[in-house]
Amino acid sequence: MEKKMKMVMLLAAAAFIGGIAWVVFSVPKEENVKEAGDPGPRLMEYSSNTIREEKDGKVIWEIYAEQSQMNVDTQDTVFQNVKGKYYQGDKLITITAPHGVYNSKTRNVRLDGGAKAVTSDNETLDCASLEWVADEGRLLAIGKAKLVRGGVTITADRIEAADEFNSFKAQGNAHIVKGKE
């Protein structure tokens, strides 16, 4: 009788320990939960799409991209093979770059991978990346920036254009040449 009692108690203990072990080891890992609960960013992909920013009914800029990928939740957009038009007063600036990002929160646009801007007056701006800072109305050329305007050439690590592409601030190895380079 005592033996039977011990056996029952041992079995009960084993069952209890086994139950605890099952509870502990069967809890899914955090990443698995995430995977299960978060399907990832919801993306929409477009081909040959154009987006634009308007202010007071006037188009400030528009971007055409061969491929666009928009995050449905954040509205941020990544572009491939971008061609943009940027309107500054009477001047039209056409911008090309292999890659770009639009931040819907800041409304800033960053084009990178080697950006080039050409104005309707045949002025050119080349740089590694080009950023439109919406709140400040500034166009920033960052990385090996080179501006050619009329007889003036400006090179610098960073060139900032403002005042309808009439005012420029060059910083870092700033170099301005008038006449033949």
């Binding site: 400006i154 009439n166 700033a174 301005i176």
Partner: protein
């Protein structure tokens, strides 16, 4: 007296040459005669509407074979007015200049101010301010100074020169010296007329000494011939 001609002529020419050298830096906006003009700095700004260029920090200005350095530069491509300040050091060929600031007006006038030290070859100018107009080749040293050549030096409280006419004037404690030729002279005013047989007029307590010859008068006129001989007229 043989040196007086050479001293006056070369002295004024020396200061003019220095400023001519400086004026050739007038600069980025002027159409470069044989190449580009460059303006470098830590930060460079350009306004295409106004034509104003500015540079700050480690400013280097290059034009032709000239290089000028300072800490701040401004240049307007439309008006051709310019300014270079902050320990200005400019070199072009054998022309050298150091000063606190240089200002360019319309590409025709240059003003160097503050501890101006300029040299061209063996000629040098030292003083607080030098002004030069390229259109009429007029040099003005309103606060005087000292001009030095290989022959000697010329000092006055106020100096000016008309380069086309080869005419120069020093006013106030005018003093000419040539240790090399054992000559010195002075007066309240000294005036040189290069086109009139090298005439030098010393007026107001005028005096001249060469070797053991001494002259003193209210007005001394010295004619210098090409051989370096002098004829002196003294008048009370």
């Amino acid at each position: 007296m043989s040196t007086m001609k050479s001293i006056h002529k070369k002295s004024i020419a020396a200061a003019a040459a220095v400023l001519l050298g400086i004026s050739s830096f007038a600069i980025v906006g002027a159409e470069p005669s044989n190449g580009a003009s460059e303006l470098n700095g830590d930060v460079v700004e350009y306004n295409a509407k106004t034509g104003l260029m500015t540079a700050d920090g480690h400013v280097v200005l290059k034009h032709n074979d000239g290089v000028a350095r300072g800490s701040h530069a401004e240049y307007n491509t439309k008006t051709q007015d310019g300014l270079l300040t902050g320990g200005v050091v400019a070199n072009q060929g054998d022309t050298h200049l150091t000063c606190d600031s240089v200002r360019f007006f319309g590409g025709t006038q240059v003003v160097a101010e503050g501890n101006v030290h300029g040299s061209k070859g063996d000629k040098a100018y030292e003083g607080p301010r030098a002004e030069y107009s390229t259109d009429n080749e007029y040099l003005r040293l309103p606060a005087g100074g000292t001009i030095t050549t290989a022959d000697g030096s010329f000092t006055a409280d106020y100096m000016e020169g008309w380069m086309k006419e080869n005419h120069a004037r020093g006013v106030g404690n005018a003093y000419v010296t040539s240790p090399k030729r054992n000559f010195e002279g002075g007066g309240d005013e000294a005036e040189y007329f290069g086109e009139e047989s090298g005439k030098v007029v010393l007026t107001g307590n005028a005096w001249a000494i060469q070797d053991n010859n001494r002259l003193k008068s209210q007005r001394l006129t010295v004619y210098l011939d090409e051989k370096g001989q002098a004829q002196t007229e003294a008048a009370q």
